[in-house]
Symmetry: D2
Subunit: 307 residues, 4 copies
């Protein structure tokens, strides 16, 4: 492939109202491993199948939501190029010094036209309990909970989604894989990929800027969705919707809420995207099927509740 | 991502001894759709979930095997760049004019140090019954047979695998995801990716050059492997091994032979590869587990039979 | 086991408003095979994995619903014993001569206290394309549509469910596996098994007698539920709810409507019941979870719509 | 159903060479729960989804193998009837007093013509951590290891399998579901059911009497077979064969050995058997497919290694 050097979603820093409850949720239910706790109380976690040190940071705060979503890029040269491109697209780029998070190199940071902060970085330490590399087994210890494989993507809500799309396409080399579009051409949602996944980031048009719709984790397959649902009920986790499938991305999915009200998704499957694949377009009258392929209609909670 | 512009495995041209039998196998059992038959008798097929016009070409011949494996690249500019890089790596590049295959643009062609012919091309017509793009359903008509989603990769046998690896890395921007390595450092097998898949091409050291070990198709999940096995037995298709899992790539897999003796694989799952992920290394004493994770030993047929 | 000789649910005769549409639904979507059409227009169908001649009879009528559900018993002696027991329980038993349905022996018939007609019979011809018995393959031809394995059970709505339960337990030797019970002890639903399945018949308390909630078909597993859902959306079949799981029986399930408005279920899994297993009891405050284990709440349509 | 009152396989007492290793295997890998340890050192275990107190008893001994397989019957009256029938079939019946195993009532015991000891009993205490019965969840705590649902059946090797079949059919009311039969009519293997499972007991003709081929546990589905295989490799458990499918019973399966050399199976699926279903017959030339549906050939280890 020949894109501009953004490798993947790297981490998301999520605000939670009660750290102890949040840990039960993300560690014991979703199945992440706790890596470390910072002096400032932030807790760093990772999925068992990720090489990098951490991918989810929980920060206790008075309000739920997303502080920042970060992408890993190929190397520091790419980071410099991307900074220039961001500036060219009109973004104000600030700098986060190495070490602001343990094991993470310098980051550049910008606020997208939808009001969301995104960071880019080239360096993160490898985890010492990531996947094995010498005659590797599937896992070091049996995965637990929902057996999340990786932090996968975020879906965000904000106003100027066309502006955000332009920045991600033009400056960062993302491709738009699918859109929801009104008959008058107005885009209601855009799905953006920096690699071969159907989406690494999705943004939905919304009056209020800077909102988080959900943080998503990849799990193995449709059976894992069922097993996640079994866990959700057993531990009385608030379900949003699922098990179901998306028309958009074709992902098999279930949505639920963390104890602070942040929406989570665990999903499996979906198509592989190749740059050059045609754009998939959903009209508003089919948006129900696009979002929930089986139900073929939206529910108010899914559309309205964000953090 | 920031590689050199090779998008994906595009097609494989496979030699079969009897076209009628081959069609029953690839069309009815593996589940491909026939696209067209050329004046020269070549039959063009595609998996139902592929956008491009065709991905498998069957050519009747006296000897089974692989004529050529081709990769699709981003555009014609990339094609020119890659030609220059191939020449720089010492490859002799020849040209195949547009139209040698219906709907396919000009190709450049080289013979890798392992004796295998590879083609690169930027343009292929889109299929008129590929995936839908307007409010798309999962499929146009119910998938049949093993429900192959796409032609995925080839595993090839030849002598100078280090040479081939060098060409694919240096000229074409592939990354090596896994290797099998003797204690003295000699590489026995290399697994190469041009994107986020654990492999798009694999090459195993072998005395004789230019050999095909298998052509592989991606299917949905572990249940699809079982369903494929049910079909293999029902229609008395020659089984090689499986259902099982690879240690290398973690793919869930089953191997079998087409009526001409060419080995096929259908597989599901496996990890997603990100450029920058550490190399996975298998030592010879663990190679059994690397190849067949459950059996933890090789069988002679799997190692010895190639076409 | 030592029950009174009822072997299994044998057939259900379902009223449909339009036979042609019904056939598309039951044959092409659910995946049944058409066996024959009677002089009176009734169409006989069977699932591919059933030994007996037919299991679903469609009858065109002005109103949807269930004419009769029938159970197969061990032999004619058992049929006589069961008639005596039914009479002893106060049931009026009538007789249907052999041949009223092609290939089916004499039946005895009674109307349960909930207003539903049930038939019992000992003899039905074997199908000539049921499962193989000599070195049997899994199937004769690849299953199609939702790949229904068998007609499995009905859920019925009526008034005197205690009376019906008594007849099925005392006369026919069924066991109650689960109940939904109000705090005052009033039973809202009873689940009855004549063998090792979690239910062969379920009855829910309802003001109006003789109503059908759903006819259910067994399919292979949770993946088959997803595949059924894919079919439901593709062919724009009216979905009720699912994919989900029942707390009661633990079955993995999806509900939808035939073109006449009769509700169907395809389901997989659930526990095996052994006579002697403790009764499972659901209180009304947990009934949502009992019915839909993931959603943990009922929907009006599921409760209210019957035929 | 109307059989003679045998409900199900109740327990198997297995001899192991080293209790500590055996516990790691049966508890941590297969996923049973330890119930208690007797004064005589026997360890009692159960699967999480079983109501009864225990189903597997491990006894440390100098030689691996099976002490006894036991069936649970409906009540003490049935036990008396079955004793009379066993005597009538020429069996010598002995008595095991209540309390020989904790929580188990009196047993009757006989040695089948194949040299295997079988016990029958009517009473076993319910476990206090079996499945819930009041608004039950799927499980009390997340299942672990291979997530065995229940002890399911044994396959035994011995000489007079016709004699054993006669006793199980005539005295205990079992039905023969499938046989492997030579062209001269000699039965090589018989599969016997006391309910609706494709088999609760299987016996294969063998020169030596009283041998155990395997003890089998039921697990959820084909994905669980893969997960079991992942565990088998991770913990370097000796694999026999699988994941594969049986032609006989259609079960999806994997075989492996406990540290003492006793063969275990975990399996999923397979057809439901109804009394009255036709006998399935396998000829010797198709026995490979009958045993291993995918490989279509036996391996020496599977046939020859017993304990």
């Amino acid at each position: 492939m020949a894109m501009t050097g953004v490798l993947k979603p790297g981490f998301a820093q999520v605000r939670v109202l009660d750290m102890e409850q949040a840990l039960v949720h993300y560690r014991d239910r979703i199945g992440l491993n706790v890596v470390s706790t910072g002096d400032d109380g932030r807790v760093y976690l990772k999925a068992y199948d990720e090489f990098d040190r951490h991918s989810i940071i929980l920060r206790e705060a008075d309000e739920a939501g997303l502080d920042v979503m970060a992408f890993k890029v190929q190397d520091d040269d790419v980071l410099k190029e991307l900074e220039a491109k961001l500036v060219k697209e009109g973004m104000e780029v600030s700098h986060v010094p190495a070490g602001e998070q343990p094991g993470v190199g310098r980051r550049i940071s910008f606020v997208a036209p939808t009001g969301h902060r995104f960071d880019l970085y080239a360096d993160m330490e490898l985890s010492d309990n990531g996947p094995e590399t010498d005659n590797p087994d599937l896992w070091r210890t049996e995965p637990h909970g929902m057996k999340a494989l990786r932090f996968d993507h975020c879906l965000l809500y904000g106003g100027d989604i066309d502006g955000a799309q332009r920045v991600f396409e033009n400056a960062l080399g993302f491709k738009t894989t699918e859109v929801i579009r009104q008959d008058d051409g107005l885009q209601i949602a855009v799905f953006l990929s920096c690699g071969m996944k159907a989406h690494d980031l999705a943004i939905v048009r919304n009056e209020e800027d800077g909102k988080l719709h959900h943080v998503s984790f990849n799990i193995e397959d449709w059976n894992s969705i069922r097993d996640a649902a079994d866990i959700i009920t057993k531990y009385d986790i608030s379900l949003d919707i699922g098990p179901t499938r998306h028309g958009i991305t074709r992902g098999q999915t279930i949505y639920f809420f963390d104890p602070s009200g942040n929406r989570n998704e665990v999903f499996a499957g979906g198509y592989s995207y190749y740059p050059g694949d045609p754009l998939r377009v959903w009209q508003m009258q089919e948006v129900g099927k696009g979002i929930f392929y089986y139900e073929r209609q939206l529910n108010d909670r899914f559309m309205g509740v964000v953090t």
